[in-house]
């Protein structure tokens, strides 16, 4: 086996060699996956020694494809979506060698689920104004505050925590980023029931939670910069996770219902459906184009456009679906409080309609996203700010 891999062919060869040595049918699942991590074939753009080979992101498709073909154990990446989508890129960009060694393997194996402790009741769009305090205490920190909209907190072993370490400087400058052990004393997770009736998210109460300084990610006071990496990856992953076939997204439900129910068709609905279908297909193509840009090493800001568009389309399409469903659209499957189990979109038109309202709020509201596009992509001047250059503790609230 050669030491370095630089081309697609060499990478493919390395995967095949790996498979030659370990028959996926007979190798125990855990052994197989750990060996895959050790061989740098977990995520090829991760660093060497931490599950990757330091290759470009686009080559991961080669690895995924070959392992799937060989019937290798599945990872179930959706179990640890925040871990893979946000924690890993952040740890790779800002973590110490010890942190990478400690966190990346169990993260990739989904042995340790991650969640994100960012939003607070008083800090949503204005995330940098958050008030959860982390106070130095010897070789660690003591954290007190409340977080909200935390998906997976009830299953998570670790949380990506953004906390205020210095209230005497302007808001962006006083934040520090931590990995928070969700099993530590003082961490309390409560389900947050949403308008769909189910609880997909949580509230997390942090009461004098002790975090060792070795779990700090990035410099003290650099939390905002570290968080940008997390959020950038969040927008990309919400906007478009992967190459999708035609009619796989929300429009597939609407198109199927249209085909199934000729008796419900009206000219007005037909016009709307064609517009929505065209918009959805164009959005899918834009997602495909973005993936090609990333693969060509030319990532652009188009992920923001994808997120805005998917939010709008999911809402318009699901609203259309409820109307198309006629009397059936007036029913709902079940209001019983329950934990979200994933795959909720199969629950029905009512659920899809309600859940999609969150698409323009979660991961940055569409309004904030428009600000970001206007300022970072188009270079328009920022809105004058009342809290600029003011120490956080003196900002009126």
């Amino acid at each position: 086996m050669s030491d370095t891999v630089s081309t697609e062919a060499e990478l493919r060869e390395r995967v095949l060699e790996f498979l030659d040595q370990r028959d996926p049918a007979t190798t125990p699942r855990g052994d197989f996956l750990n060996a895959r991590f050790d061989a740098g074939l977990a995520v090829v753009h991760y660093p060497v020694g931490h599950g990757g080979l330091g290759l470009r992101r686009s080559l991961q498709a080669v690895v995924t494809g070959e392992f799937a073909k060989a019937g290798a154990p599945e990872l179930g990446p959706f179990r640890n979506v925040i871990g893979l989508g946000m924690a890993a890129p952040t740890i790779i960009a800002f973590g110490t060698e010890e942190q990478k060694s400690r966190w990346l393997r169990p993260l990739w194996l989904a042995e340790e689920i991650w969640c994100q402790l960012f939003s607070e009741p008083g800090a949503g769009s204005d995330l940098a104004g958050l008030g959860t305090r982390a106070v130095r205490d010897g070789d660690g920190w003591v954290v007190t505050g409340q977080k909200v909209w935390t998906s997976l907190a009830h299953q998570a072993r670790w949380g990506l925590l953004l906390a205020r370490t210095d209230p005497d400087v302007p808001k962006h400058a006083g934040l520090t980023y931590f990995g928070c052990d969700m099993t530590a004393p003082g961490v309390e997770v409560r389900p947050l029931r949403q308008l769909t009736g189910e609880a997909e998210f949580n509230e997390v109460f942090l009461t004098e939670v002790r975090i060792p300084d070795t779990d700090r990610i990035g410099e003290v006071g650099a939390g905002w910069r570290v968080a940008q990496t997390t959020l950038m990856n969040e927008r990309v992953s919400i906007g478009n996770a992967r190459s999708a076939p035609r009619e796989e997204s929300a429009i597939g439900f609407a198109a199927a219902a249209w085909r199934r129910h000729p008796e419900r068709r009206t000219p007005g609905l037909h016009q709307r459906l064609l517009q929505l279908w065209a918009d959805a297909e164009v959005a899918r193509l834009a997602g495909e184009r973005l993936r090609q840009q990333i693969a060509a090493g030319e990532p652009g800001p188009e992920g923001s456009a994808a997120k805005l568009t998917y939010a709008r389309l999911n809402q318009e399409i699901s609203a259309f679906e409820v109307e198309l469903a006629g009397a059936d659209g007036l029913l709902y499957d079940d209001w019983t409080m329950r934990r979200a189990t994933g795959g909720g979109y199969a629950r029905g038109t009512g659920f899809r309609y309600l859940r999609s309202r969150g698409n323009s709020i979660e991961g940055g509201t569409s309004e904030i996203l428009r600000n970001i596009i206007a300022e970072r992509v188009l270079g328009l001047p920022a809105e004058p700010r009342a809290d600029k250059d003011v120490p956080w503790k003196d900002v009126p609230r």
């Binding site: 000729p262 068709r265 037909h270 279908w277 164009v282 805005l308 596009i373 328009l380 004058p384």
Partner: protein
């Protein structure tokens, strides 16, 4: 279905950059505006530079016929630049629509079409397809012209045509017209621009950067290029090419409107701050950028599908024409609005873009017609 490459190749970027330089110099907004008020609304010298020097006339024409053997991808990349400058040149009618119709006729075995393409490849002649600008592929077939027999002394292969085609684009500067005519059967004819009985009446057009004319034929001699299904296919090929290329043009136009508007709102100050710092304007521009980002994917997909002969091309054309035209009209309207008073003046170029965008959105089928065509293509039947 989406194996298509949706990015710009190096060749496409280079072609676009060369055109951008030329157009910045020769089709600046003041030039374009002044040209709309001249008798000769088409800039034939600029067209010669684009067609012959840059080689746009022969871009789609295969090398054996003297062309560059490029594809719709390159032509679309060029069209974005023509849209960005609203340049008054007949590239669309000649290098896209007529060329596509003739290429289709060549495939059906027309030596006359091949001869004409050879003359077009080196920009010796400019050609236009005499159809109404709003005609759409698969739509009602234009039947404004009829065969009128022959006259004594007519040589072999000469047929006389009679009829009128309203609102033809890019026919004014053309030396040769391709004229579809109802007869038994439907045929596509070649009519020399100097032929007796051919009249082209310039029309005062909503978009004076692409002035329309009425083409009338009164016993005008014509030579047959394609017959029956081959003729219908040639016309459809022209209309399809027109839709895809004008979609790319609209994309370029939309991007230029966005760029102009963004530059303006950064400069323009009211209430002691740049107006571009107000969220009301920022959000509109962010939405416009998003719309254009979507449209770009649709345009690239359609150009790729046409270039590779992808069976999904009809869907791609409908998506691109509707998405890019909606984007362009929105962009031009936003450009006027967000420029405020200056955007409503004659001296500011915003109106040139508005008029071009609106007219082009109707050309080769409206966005609504193209979306309606999807009903059959993707099995979403009408009630």
């Amino acid at each position: 279905m989406t194996a298509a490459d949706l990015l710009y190749s190096d060749t496409e970027r280079e072609l676009a950059a060369a055109l951008a330089d030329l157009l910045a110099e020769r089709a600046a907004p003041d030039d374009v505006l002044a040209r709309t008020e001249k008798t000769e609304t088409y800039d034939t010298e600029l067209w010669r530079a684009v067609a012959a020097d840059i080689g746009l006339a022969g871009l789609l024409i295969p090398e054996p016929l003297g062309g560059a053997g490029a594809s719709y991808r390159e032509l679309a990349a060029a069209a974005e630049q023509f849209g960005a400058s609203v340049a008054p040149i007949p590239y669309l009618g000649s290098a896209a629509v007529a060329t596509a119709a003739l290429l289709s006729a060549v495939k059906a075995g027309s030596p006359a079409a091949a001869d004409l393409l050879r003359r077009m490849a080196d920009a010796t002649v400019t050609v236009a397809l005499a159809v109404e600008f709003p005609a759409r592929t698969g739509g009602r077939r234009p039947a404004a012209v009829r065969v009128a027999g022959t006259q004594p002394g007519d040589g072999a292969g000469i047929t006389r045509l009679r009829g009128t085609v309203k609102s033809v684009a890019d026919a004014l500067p053309a030396e040769v017209l391709l004229v579809p005519a109802e007869g038994v059967p439907y045929c596509l004819y070649l009519v020399e621009g100097t032929a007796p009985g051919l009249h082209r009446t310039p029309l005062v057009s909503l978009d004076m950067t692409r002035q329309l004319c009425e083409v009338s034929l009164d016993g005008t001699p014509a030579r047959q290029l394609a017959i029956g299904d081959a003729a219908a296919e040639a016309v459809d090929a022209g209309l399809t090419a027109g839709a895809v290329v004008i979609a790319a043009e609209q994309l370029g136009l939309a991007q230029r409107c966005l760029d102009m508007t963004v530059a303006y709102v950064k400069e323009r100050r009211q209430f002691a701050r740049p107006v571009g710092s107000f969220q009301a304007l920022k959000h509109r521009l962010a939405d416009l950028w998003t719309t254009i980002t979507m449209a770009r994917a649709a345009s690239r997909y359609a150009a790729s599908c046409l270039a590779s002969g992808d069976p999904d091309a009809p869907v791609a054309v409908a998506l691109a024409k509707s998405a890019c035209c909606d984007a362009a009209v929105t962009a031009a309207q936003e450009c006027v609005q967000l420029h405020g008073g200056i955007g409503f003046t004659w001296e500011h170029p915003a109106h040139l873009y508005l008029k071009r965008a609106k007219v082009s959105s109707i050309a080769f089928g409206t966005p609504g017609e193209h979306r309606a065509a999807l009903a059959n293509l993707v099995n979403l039947p009408a009630p």
